[in-house]
Structure formats: C-alpha cells, structure tokens
Amino acid sequence: MRKFLALQIAALIVVSGALGGMFFASNAFEEVRTRIVLVLCLSCIKLEPKTVRNFTFATDNNAPHPSFILENLTKGPVFLHYSENVCAGCEVMFPIVKSLFHVEFGKKDIFWRTVPFNSTNITYIYVNLDNTTDMLENTFPLYDKDDIGGLPMFVVMTLGYDHGTVRPYYTTVYGTLNVPTDADRTALLTELLHESIELYNQNKAGYHPH
C-alpha cells in the first residue's frame, strides 16, 4: 500500500513538475496558441471558403500597410503565400505556387524573391506561420479579407486608383481555391496575376510608397 502511494506521488511530482517546467521554461503555451488555436486549418474543418476574387483597398481595421509591402510595390505586384507545417491544403498548393513562379525552397524556409512573370516583376513572399518573423506574421490578419483566419491563404497585391490617389489594392483567396484540379488552380492564380499586372500598369505612374 505504501509502495503504491509512493508510486502515485512520484508520478504526480514527475508529471506536474514537467508540465510546470514546460509552462515556465519553454514557449509551448504560446506556440500552441499561435500555431493551432489562432489559425484555422481549412483541411481540418473539411471546408473551403468560397473564392471571392474582388480586389479591395481595406485592410483589417484599416491598418496601414507594412513598409516592405509598400516598397516592393514600386517594383511590381506582390504575391503573399501563407502556409503552415501541418495542413493538407497547404501541401496541395505548395508545389503549384512553386512551379508558377519557378522558385525552389523548403516548406519551413523563410523565402522571398522578385520573379519575372509575363515580362513584369512580381515579388513573391512565402510566409510559413510556424517558421517566420513577427513582421511577416503580422501581415496575416491584415490581409485576411474575408475574416477566415485559415490556411493556406494567398494575397495578390497590386495598385488601384482611389479618390484621386493610387493605393495598394489587393485580393485574397483561400484553401485549394474551390477548383478540382491542379491545372485549374494554376489557371486561377495565373488569371489573378494577369489582372493584378494590368491594374498595376494602369496605376504605377501615380504611385508613391510614402
């Protein structure tokens, strides 16, 4: 009986000690919060947001665009690709986007590059929310146009004319884009990029980043 009680107490000490240690000495709590609780894995909910392709000027709470976005818009449209480590939809879209821009990198890398697309420069920025900088992570809610909070998410940023000024103009699409095949997904993204290039070319003369 005493031996059993000692075993119970030892188990409690080991488990609570290790758990307490994890709370105080590791960032597990914060990582679970930011990686699992706050981000909606679209494949996990077995749903995809409807693809609504309309461009908008409005960011979340009308917050200002980060300066690196404004700077990159001087070169051409910007394509933001949001992903995470464990997400079936992200796995589907990862190779499609890589082959669209002819870029090569790992799923957990922090990656950006200016790539030629239809004789226009496009800045491609890959954001894996599980392995990224705060600066890039903070853009995720900013451009979550339909308040989905889910991954994968793609933002196509260009320029638009708004009451006398040229401003960043963007659209966001989610998941595997509600189309059945990889060819359809590539076609849809290509179409969006063409649209963004057209808008960019119409408005770039009037654009001043600051």
Binding site: L5, Q8, V15, V32, I36, L40, K46, L47, P49, V86
Partner: protein, 272 residues
C-alpha cells in the same frame, strides 16, 4: 443535491468554460490543450485539441518534442489525479453521449443487442481506441502525412457544423468532407445505439487517459466482502463494465452511477 445532478451541472459549466473563445464573448484563446476531445476549430474554442498537437509534433517524420510532450503532460496530470474522470465530468462529447444514452439504453434491452454485448469479441473491440490513437493519429501522421483531424467526427460536430451555421454561404465542402460526413453519421448512429459507444471503442483521448486509471489518486473501489452480486452496478454502468469484478478498470470513467446504484453502499469513491 443528487450526485448525478451535480455531475450534470459540472458538465454544463465545463462545456461553457471550454467555449469562452468566441470573438468578443469574451474571446479567450489560450495555448492550453483540452484534457478531453474537443476541436480548436470550433469558433468558440479556448484551447487546442491534444490530438492536433500530437499530430503536429510528428508530422512527416519531423519531431517536435515540445508539441509531443505538452498535450501528454496535460492529460497525464489529469490522469494521475482523477484517472478518466474527465470523460464523465468534463468532456463535451461525453456530455453529448449522456444525452443520447436514454435511446442507447432502450436499444440495449433488445435481445440481439444483449447477445452482441455479451459476445466474447466485445472486450477486444475496446482495444480499437488504442489502434486509432497509434495508427490513425500517430503513425499516419509520421508515415504519410495524413492527419486524423481531417476526418475526425468530433471535429465535424464541434468545428465544421458551427462554422457552417455561423457563416452561411461562405464555405464550401472540401475533398475530406464526404468521408468525414460518412464517419460523422456512423458516429451518430454509434452513440445512439451503444451507450458511450465512442468512449468505449474509439476515443483516442480516452486511450491516453485509460492507463492512468491504474495509478490515479481518485478511483472507485468495490468492497467485495459486502457485495451481494445483485449486479445493479453493472446494469447502470454506461461503459458496460462488470463492476463487482473491476479493480481500477481502464474503462471506468468515474461517473459514479455504480456508487449511487449500490443498495448496500459497497462501492465508494476513494481518494488514494
């Protein structure tokens, strides 16, 4: 106040506590893992599903010890202190099955169901939950990158359905939806025909908690000397345990129904 009524209030309070995360009401999103089965995709969820954290930790041969140890330690803490009591007292899916148990108990009276319940294979079927945990949650995540969360019936109930209701017309089914829907229908059938069918046979979180019953501080003790083997306890047990013969049974969820049912008061909750 009657003991089972206390348990009902406890379940209701914990259900609302688990759902304090709805934006603005009060929007509490924490980094805890639930010590029971509940989906973080629920718009009101406050914490993460422990299985999602486990899948994340081993996905495609990666190994993140923090994500692996963290949910196991949370479950371990509750396991060592209260055994599988969270299944009966805190788990919202357990709460749901409490609601469906009335139908399941009627089905149980059918001769065919009784025959099936007494079949020798029944006790082996209870090992299915360990296969679900090791096979579907851990091994498939490691080997093929498929995650149980994508077809999980609990996720369908607590994540997919509320999202569809709260956002009409905003979402469309993805390629996992038809499979998940079939599994969800089977889940519903199961909990209506077998009392606590999900907890008995399939719950992977229950599979993690079960072994802790062997060493938990809180447990149910049957005092065999005074037992008259009237079997009232086994009759009311929602987990279908042969209560007079149980000793720290891994299947016991400490609901206390046997404690209340014993006419001789020979079944008691013990703290050590």
């Amino acid at each position: 106040m009657k003991f089972q009524l206390k348990r009902l209030y406890f379940q209701i309070i914990l259900f609302f506590t688990a759902n304090l995360g709805y934006p603005g009401l009060p929007g509490l999103k924490t980094g805890f893992c639930y010590p029971f089965f509940y989906c973080q995709a629920c718009p009101a969820a406050t914490s993460a599903c422990p299985l999602r954290a486990l899948e994340d930790s081993v996905y495609k041969q990666s190994f993140e010890w923090r994500f692996f140890a963290y949910p196991l330690l949370i479950l371990g803490f509750f396991g060592v202190t209260t055994g599988r009591a969270v299944c009966a007292w805190a788990c919202p899916i357990g709460f749901l099955q409490r609601g469906t148990s009335r139908v399941a108990r009627k089905v149980k009276k059918h001769p065919f169901a009784q025959k099936l319940g007494k079949h020798k294979a029944e006790k082996y079927l209870r090992y299915t939950k360990y296969f679900v945990l090791i096979g579907l949650v851990i091994l498939t995540s490691i080997l093929i990158g498929f995650i149980f969360t994508d077809i999980c019936p609990v996720g369908f109930l607590t994540g997919t359905i509320p999202i569809l209701i709260l956002n009409p017309g905003k979402f469309l089914p993805n390629y996992f939806f038809p499979v998940a829907l079939i599994i969800f229908i089977l889940f519903l059938v199961l909990i209506f025909i077998i009392e606590r069918g999900w907890c008995r046979y399939f719950c992977p979180v229950g599979a993690i908690l079960s072994p802790f019953n062997k060493i938990s501080f809180l447990h149910i003790e049957v005092h065999e000397k005074g037992c008259t083997h009237c079997n009232m306890c086994s009759y009311v047990c929602p987990m279908g345990i042969d209560v007079p013969r149980m000793h720290r049974d891994p299947e016991c969820i400490l609901c206390g129904k046997c404690v209340n049912a014993c006419p001789k008061n020979q079944i008691t909750f013990e703290r050590i």
